[in-house]
Symmetry: C4
Subunit: 218 residues, 4 copies
Amino acid sequence: MVEHVREDASDPNATEIAFAEQSRRLADLGRGFYSRGWVLGTSGNFSAVITADPLRLAITSSGVDKSELAPEHILKVDDDGKVIAGSGRPSAETLLHIAVARLRNAGAVLHTHSVWSNVLSDAYAGAGGVSISGFEMLKGLEGITTHEHSEWLPIVENSQDMPALAHAVEDSLRRHPGAHGFLLRRHGLYTWGKDLAKAKRHVEILEFLLEVHGHSQK
Amino acid sequence: MVEHVREDASDPNATEIAFAEQSRRLADLGRGFYSRGWVLGTSGNFSAVITADPLRLAITSSGVDKSELAPEHILKVDDDGKVIAGSGRPSAETLLHIAVARLRNAGAVLHTHSVWSNVLSDAYAGAGGVSISGFEMLKGLEGITTHEHSEWLPIVENSQDMPALAHAVEDSLRRHPGAHGFLLRRHGLYTWGKDLAKAKRHVEILEFLLEVHGHSQK
Amino acid sequence: MVEHVREDASDPNATEIAFAEQSRRLADLGRGFYSRGWVLGTSGNFSAVITADPLRLAITSSGVDKSELAPEHILKVDDDGKVIAGSGRPSAETLLHIAVARLRNAGAVLHTHSVWSNVLSDAYAGAGGVSISGFEMLKGLEGITTHEHSEWLPIVENSQDMPALAHAVEDSLRRHPGAHGFLLRRHGLYTWGKDLAKAKRHVEILEFLLEVHGHSQK
Amino acid sequence: MVEHVREDASDPNATEIAFAEQSRRLADLGRGFYSRGWVLGTSGNFSAVITADPLRLAITSSGVDKSELAPEHILKVDDDGKVIAGSGRPSAETLLHIAVARLRNAGAVLHTHSVWSNVLSDAYAGAGGVSISGFEMLKGLEGITTHEHSEWLPIVENSQDMPALAHAVEDSLRRHPGAHGFLLRRHGLYTWGKDLAKAKRHVEILEFLLEVHGHSQK
């Protein structure tokens, strides 16, 4: 995942190549997260921006066993979450991916359901977030150049009303412009990056820090 | 595991194809669960319904190291648990699979022996079950459309008297018609689904939630 | 690991075939245990009996990274632990394997260094052993047909004086004839079986139960 | 990783072969550590000495996803940390590797970011180090022949001022000449060995002992 996949809305051929390449990478990433236990039971969803304007996302279709995630399970959706290419229902959380991609100008948005994101999003729900400070691992977060950083991961209350949840997420992202991710309570972690490689790095860093935090509390 | 394997009792050839296909899938699934540490030491057993009426199950033979589970280790049994095809002794818990398949009209029944199912089935034995509420992961359970769901996993006391245990399981399943699984105390988890893919999803969801619960209690 | 490798002291050719086959199986098993984190840092040692009388063992040579364990790392030793075939130093704990193989008439002896065997062999050192009762998983131990079994895993104090340690182990095995394994304090687990497959099953069962026990104490 | 790669400063051809071979081994090792969760989110860095005098290190370039670590990601640097061969920025911690390689006359220096090194380097920061005694696993550390050994892992306060941090590390290594590794607080573990295989063994042993220690405190 070294090269940045070129997005070119004026060249449909380049867009098709980008979609095929992103689908392949999303599938590889998804299977990798599955092996870590971060997306069991068909949970989790992953997206990559194909073109920013108009917004076109490559996103996992709904209900796929991530151990078998393949390029054929990736759909292309527009900025209303409507399917443009591919077969299947788009992820139920497509509106969240669109909201995050827009607000953070992200190239990729990743959502995992790990044990520790579930444990801590519940334990710290009253506080409204989890604070993680002083770890070298924080330096892998975009724009952070020192371990002497205090990262606040907001906890957003979960909801099945997806438009309402999208608004709650947007509201949280606006109130915490420096946050590199957020937790949905008793649900999981959302994070993003300028491209898929950076988003993957953010997932690994935040999941790692949540686990360190979890073991440190006892 | 995307397509639903067609069951057709009136076409023996289709039944043979279904048995071969289910055997292959059960073997893949078993080796996957082994790698997660959920079926160590030849524990665990997995079945898939070949035909519902008369009831014919494809089920793991007894005492197989799940790291090496192969189609040749899968037997076909009838509704008394008698072996119709394949060589080996059927799983000692075949009667439980038959009971569950019948009562829940399941397409597949899966039984794992994980660390957390053992820890929690013992810790909550006095309460008679484990209650898990409010997690998004619950939405992956059949018929559940919201995280605002309270799942009760009954704990059935373990026994070596298999007919008696089967009755205790049937009794529990009748008293808790909404339960998507149950725990055998100091033994493990049983769950099922309309087909093998759905049952696998249920295993992953329930094992995940048990681990979350286990880490949350400390 | 399904067939029992025939041991025939009267047929040298069969013995050579048995040694080659056991070497291959020991290597596969060792790499598998490494992936579980049970034999990190060149720890652990595994043996299989080639002939019982005279006693000839196939045993791992000393200091091998178990992630790379291959048949060429397996030596054949006699009942004094002297190398008969293969190159390398035999495992430092060869005398323990010989002691266990003899006293328990075992076909294979396996020794792992897991996190939980280390944690619990220390926590229960004062008690002299770890008691594990009532788990279905105990049924996978040789001769055990019910979960209503109380398994006592003796804890032997570690020592660098290998002959003395072998005597302490023999003494413990005689005092606890029903034990299916023992722990060396702050060192690890020893278990055995009639053949390599059974010994592997015992390792998995005991390591599993130690982890369950470890998580239950908190 | 069985043979010791010959270092020969007088034979440039041999040096090139050594660099290529070490690059391959470093890449294999890195991907292995990634699978254990010890170098997530592009963290971690690994080096091997190509020639001791003048000092030439093969070292991981900065910001590489260790799941994809390949020989092309390994650079050759001189004793000021300047890149002599390969493309990319050298690891930000190159100065630490040089300091350790020199002071300990090491053949390889490895740095991991595990959960337990982070948890314990923080928990014991006030004590200035973590003491680990009496474990058989300690025998795998260079020069240690008995479990009756007390290993002190100094904790050095983390810093982004790399020359200052290198001095702090050198100071700690001089004050604790017997230490086989050290922890950077809320950062990770550094260890080394006469060659890459020995350094890998040290990583595995120390990470194992940190995890044992972590589970024993509760």
